[in-house]
């Protein structure tokens, strides 16, 4: 578990330096940070205030998905709204019924905001601030309302020694009545909203300050520096998990520009992401690059077929490498991109430096490359609620 904790912490320390944790610890308010690129979208930071508010020790929160705060009477529509905001990568505020560790419900104003990488517009983290909402001054109660939900939970908790005791189940059997049994919905006051915003702002300013130490620089708003449509967040995240060196080009834009480049591709070629997004792949070519082979690639692209070729290509520093290149058409299943529904939307270009030492555990380079193609095909099946692989324009 030690390693697991270090890995979660690295999500922050690698991007904002080691000192960011101390600085965040100094900030008041209850908030958490999640990393959407890690499997399960786990919590990677929880503030002291959050531990006090929810009753969860901080260590217990790390690595869990933030939906652990939800419970039987949490409004599903509010949850859907949050999920949609995560998918669309936008800020969102909602009053929501959460549960503490001991099972008691409490109303909070949830303020959610994405933290963007300034250079390429990727979402690095989500920030969630929770501000407790006080009950309205004259709480109205339903006449004949059943005993408070918390009491039931309390009873269940008393049975912890006998985990199979039927109480545990009974509490949740009548979930269909949740609208009746839940507490009166609370409305966040202007003061609550301001407090959420000001907490979020102080976190942003901390992250921004420390991100400059690592040279990464994060910001609150996405800055689209390149003139190409960005991929949806779910597609970006799925692609981010693929470790092979590849780029995706958009078939339907003039000159087939690169719309995604993997980290491995950047380290192979020496370019930064912002330098190549929006460019045609030909920037890799130079003297000695075979025109016939390039022509062959084009022929396969036109016929919507896959091909594997050997090519001499150039890195940013001018050095050459023997490129084993596999190009495959990638279809789009959402049917909403471009004028050609369900047709080829992208091409994946998997590059491999043939002269470098690779450890494929006995597999041939071709197997390794086809594995990347498969992984890209899976990623492109990822759906955003809008059904589009491109991010909705704002």
């Amino acid at each position: 578990m030690e390693g697991e904790e270090r890995r979660l912490a690295a999500s922050l320390t690698a991007r904002y330096s080691e000192w960011v944790l101390e600085e965040l610890d100094e900030l008041r308010g209850s908030f958490l940070l999640t990393d959407p690129a890690m499997p399960g979208h786990p919590i990677v930071y929880a503030s002291r205030g959050l531990a006090a508010l929810t009753g969860y020790p901080r260590r217990e929160l790390l690595g869990r998905n933030a939906r652990l705060f939800q419970g039987a009477a949490t409004d599903r529509a509010a949850v859907s709204g949050v999920r949609e905001a995560v998918r669309a990568q936008r800020a969102h505020q909602v009053a929501i019924l959460n549960y503490r560790r001991d099972g008691s419900p409490h109303w909070v104003l949830l303020h959610l905001a994405p933290v963007f990488h300034a250079a390429d517009g990727r979402v690095l983290h989500f920030l969630a601030v929770q501000v407790p909402i006080a009950p309205a001054s004259s709480p109205r109660r339903h006449p004949g309302r059943p005993p408070a939900f918390a009491a039931c939970r309390e009873e269940a908790r008393g049975e912890e020694e006998l985990p199979c005791a039927s109480h545990v189940g009974e509490v949740f059997v009548d979930i269909d009545k949740r609208g009746l049994e839940a507490e009166e919905p609370r409305i966040a006051s202007g003061c609550d909203k301001e407090m959420a915003l000001s907490t979020a702002n102080s976190i942003f300013s901390t992250l921004n300050r420390y991100s400059k130490l690592t040279g990464l620089v994060v910001c609150e708003r996405r800055c689209d520096s390149v003139g190409i449509p960005a991929l949806s967040s779910s597609l970006n995240l799925s692609l981010g998990r693929i470790k092979q060196s590849f780029v995706l080009t958009d078939r339907h834009l003039p000159d087939m520009p690169i719309v995604y480049a993997s980290d491995a591709f950047l380290s192979l070629t020496g370019y930064s992401r912002e330098e190549i997004l929006g460019c045609n792949c030909r920037f890799l070519n130079g003297p000695g690059t075979s025109a016939e082979v390039l022509e062959e690639i084009n022929r396969h692209i036109c016929r919507e077929e896959a091909c594997t070729v050997h090519l001499l290509n150039y890195r940013k520093d001018g050095s050459t490498f023997r490129d084993l290149l596999h190009v495959s058409p990638i279809r789009n299943s959402s049917g909403k991109v471009g004028l050609h529904p369900f047709q080829v939307a992208f091409h994946v270009w998997v590059h491999l430096d043939e002269s470098a030492k690779h450890d494929f555990s006995g597999l041939t380079p071709e197997v390794w490359q086809l594995g990347a193609v498969g992984a890209v095909r899976v990623a492109v099946r990822s759906l955003s609620a809008s059904g589009s692989l491109l991010r909705p324009s704002q």
Binding site: R76, R331, S355, S361, T364, V367, V380
Partner: protein, 367 residues
């Protein structure tokens, strides 16, 4: 240039393309699991890190190769997908060519493979690889002419429900129980852990078996979590500090379901096996879905739908549906799907009993 030693020393993937040239018989790819993978904690320790796992890359590559050679009934990546926006975000696919029972023609998979005969090579095209326990510390891929007894055969489904759809069929002559083999389920769980991909999900259906008396699993790659994975859960049994097993109930979902989670492979396999055997003894149809690198197992008990007489498949239990006609696809609604799922759901009383049983099984494991 390619490093010569690597290529020569490496196992040539394309050797399979010319089986007739090999007098010794058809070669299949045998993936031997590393011994250290058997230690639950170690194998889970590196989850989510570093490069893709060897097995993940190999399965995707073999499937892609099979697809690029034109053996698929259709290109599933061209089949339209849609999220039905709502509380549950069901996912539906439009696919007029999907065939429910493609394994039917594979009568041969009901019997263990012996030595593969060269002259029948063509019919083994869909056999992507075989996975078995290994003896080395590191996993390895080796050529083999004989799939080992007690291994698992990975067979491409030419009528996939999603990218990477495979059948995982035990190749075993001495299965103790034709319905459920705990050792085999353990191997399947290890495979899910070894693939180490958040997209990889394994399915099991009891009662809808198309190869009677032979246990088999299916697996697919899904880019997004399946709807059931986003549903709220309420813990029923928390053995986190003891066996590592947690049993939870899925709430606010039309089909009653339980989810078992653990970082301890053996404990998870023990508890789920007990639960499945108990359900099978009562002739209760049920489906399983394994996700999160083999750490989560969802259990869906089902009742027979008296109108249709059929059952939901495991992915349907998870909220993923395939439609054959555009009209049905366009008309699909959250209410319609919820009602359909609810018609297969356990009654409250039955489900209470199952919950108690599963908690008791998990508790027994500790003492």
């Amino acid at each position: 240039m390619v490093s010569a030693t690597k290529l020569e020393g490496g196992y040539c993937f394309h050797s399979k393309n010319s089986p007739l040239d090999q007098p010794e018989g058809v070669k299949i790819h045998l993936y031997r699991l590393g011994i250290e993978q058997h230690d639950a904690l170690k194998s889970f320790a590196y989850a989510g890190q570093g490069s893709p796992s060897l097995l993940d890359t190999f399965i995707l590559s073999q499937w892609e190769n099979f697809a690029q050679k034109g053996h698929m009934g259709y290109d599933v990546t061209a089949c339209e997908l849609k999220v039905i926006e709502g509380q549950r975000d069901f996912v539906i696919q439009m696919n007029d060519k999907w065939n429910t029972f493609p394994l039917k023609k594979h009568d041969k998979f009901g019997h263990p493979f012996g030595c593969l005969k060269p002259n029948s090579a063509k019919s083994y095209e869909e056999l992507l690889l075989c996975i078995a326990e290994g003896e080395d510390t590191e996993p390895e891929v080796v050529p083999s002419t004989t799939p080992p007894n007690n291994g698992v055969l990975l067979i491409a489904n030419a009528y996939p429900v999603e990218y990477g759809h495979i059948f995982l069929v035990p190749n075993s002559t001495n299965q103790l129980s034709s319905f459920w083999d705990k050792r085999m389920f353990g191997l399947i769980t290890k495979i899910a852990s070894e693939v180490n991909s958040t997209a990889f999900r394994v399915f099991f259906d009891d009662g809808t078996s198309i190869v009677p008396k032979h246990m088999f699993f299916q697996a697919c790659y899904f880019a997004n979590p399946l709807p059931v994975e986003s549903a709220s859960t309420v813990a029923l049994y928390d053995g986190a500090t003891r066996s590592g097993i947690c049993v939870s109930e899925i709430v606010d979902y039309p089909l009653k379901a339980l989810v078992f989670t653990s970082t301890n492979v053996n404990a998870l396999v023990d508890v789920v096996s007990e639960a499945c055997l108990a359900l099978h003894e009562k002739n209760t149809v049920h489906s399983l879905m394994m996700s999160n690198n083999g750490r989560n197992v969802f259990l869906f008990p089902q009742v027979k739908n008296l109108v249709t007489g059929c059952y939901l498949s495991a992915w349907e239990c998870c909220g993923y549906f395939v439609y054959h006609t555009k009209v049905d696809f366009d008309r699909a609604s959250e209410t319609g799907i919820s009602n359909r799922m609810a018609s297969f759901s356990f009654q409250d009383g039955e489900f209470e009993d199952l919950k108690k049983l599963c908690c008791a099984i998990a508790d027994d494991l500790v003492t």
